[in-house]
Symmetry: C2
Subunit: 218 residues, 2 copies
């Protein structure tokens, strides 16, 4: 392996922080944030297929609008802004900084659906930015994961063949897409979910980044 490419949301950063922020505006914060996240992902798939790209910040706002209407709640502009901004202040999982430090002799990059503004702000706010040589966004190719066009940004920027890049994600669809593209893939299955039946299997399954490093003998 010559380089490591990381997904952001759910992999480095805990999107459950969003539930916390929803607590103040809705009685069922878990249900609400689950619907918000599901629609956010669905809209990235649908917009890619429809060839009607909008960036991830806008897609996240549209998904929030859907969730608000679905729960029939009224949300002020200030609350809406606050909910959106949780995406700029997500907490990294406990082991992330140590795990990245451990890999400091490799080329490291983030490759995410997030817009450049979202990714740069989040990495800055979390203090993790300096670990990464490249912060790569699907925005550059105006389509979303699991399109091979997005994964191709990895070898393009790192200058390393895809077979020598280890891609790390906690999202099943992302694991499958990255594997189909040709990366070596580690699935950080933090919550014990089931792999999707899409004919692809990760090379390594681990519960944390630390465990993954161990499994790779690093």
């Amino acid at each position: 392996m010559k380089g490591f490419v990381f997904d952001a949301y759910g992999t480095l950063f805990d999107i459950n922080s969003v539930i916390e922020a929803c607590k103040y505006i809705i009685q069922d914060p878990e249900g609400f944030s689950k619907l918000w996240r599901a629609k956010q992902l669905e809209y990235t798939f649908l917009r890619s297929l429809m060839e009607r790209y909008k960036d991830f910040w806008e897609v996240t706002e549209d998904a929030l609008t859907f969730a608000i209407n679905s729960f029939s709640i009224s949300v002020s502009q200030v609350e809406r802004k606050k909910l959106m901004e949780t995406y700029l202040y997500l907490k990294p999982f406990a082991e992330v900084a140590d795990a990245l430090r451990h890999l400091k002799n490799y080329e490291l990059a983030v490759l995410s659906n997030g817009s450049p503004m979202m990714l740069n702000t989040l990495l800055e706010n979390s203090g993790l930015k300096h670990y990464f040589r490249y912060i790569l966004s699907a925005d550059e190719v105006r389509t979303y994961k699991p399109s091979p066009k997005v994964y191709a940004l990895g070898p393009k920027y790192l200058g390393i063949p895809k077979e020598e890049i280890f891609f790390v994600s906690s999202n099943s669809f992302d694991v499958v897409g990255a594997k189909a593209f040709g990366f070596k893939v580690g699935w950080i299955n933090r919550s014990g979910t089931q792999l999707d039946e899409l004919g692809m299997k990760p090379d390594i399954i681990a519960i944390t980044l630390e465990e993954m490093s161990g499994a790779l003998g690093l």
Copy 2:
């Protein structure tokens, strides 16, 4: 309007028939069939984006495997086959035959994700086949709705410009995709669901095909 193009599953045919068949193998047939359907759709989106097409029969089988594993049940080969075959014997909604008869002076077609085998068998079994001049499957272009490549089969076969084709679907993502492509679109919102926030609105919303014909002044 010179022609009408219909989605199949959920629009002409009641996919709730699947719940009935699941009753014999699982205690929560609604939850099970809901997950099965959700994964079936998700896999069409993901396979299209990954550029790893498999036909709709195979995708439906893969989604069934996911649902079976997710519910931790054991299902015999005979039961599995029976579950899959419900897709070949779905019941049309009550008003469908009358509504199609009413439109007999127009060019009518079905345009669905279903494989040619699935669509032909279902239309044959339901006695609706003779209403349609064309039975068009996403299989021809090896990708799924809401890709514009799939909708383009409509004008191609009917020989009518897309602006003069009225596309009818009950599925929100399909309504949005067909509208983005350039069809006139009717949303048969049978269950009162919420339109997705994807920047597109149908021309007509109705609860049944009959109501839609009325709204078009036919």
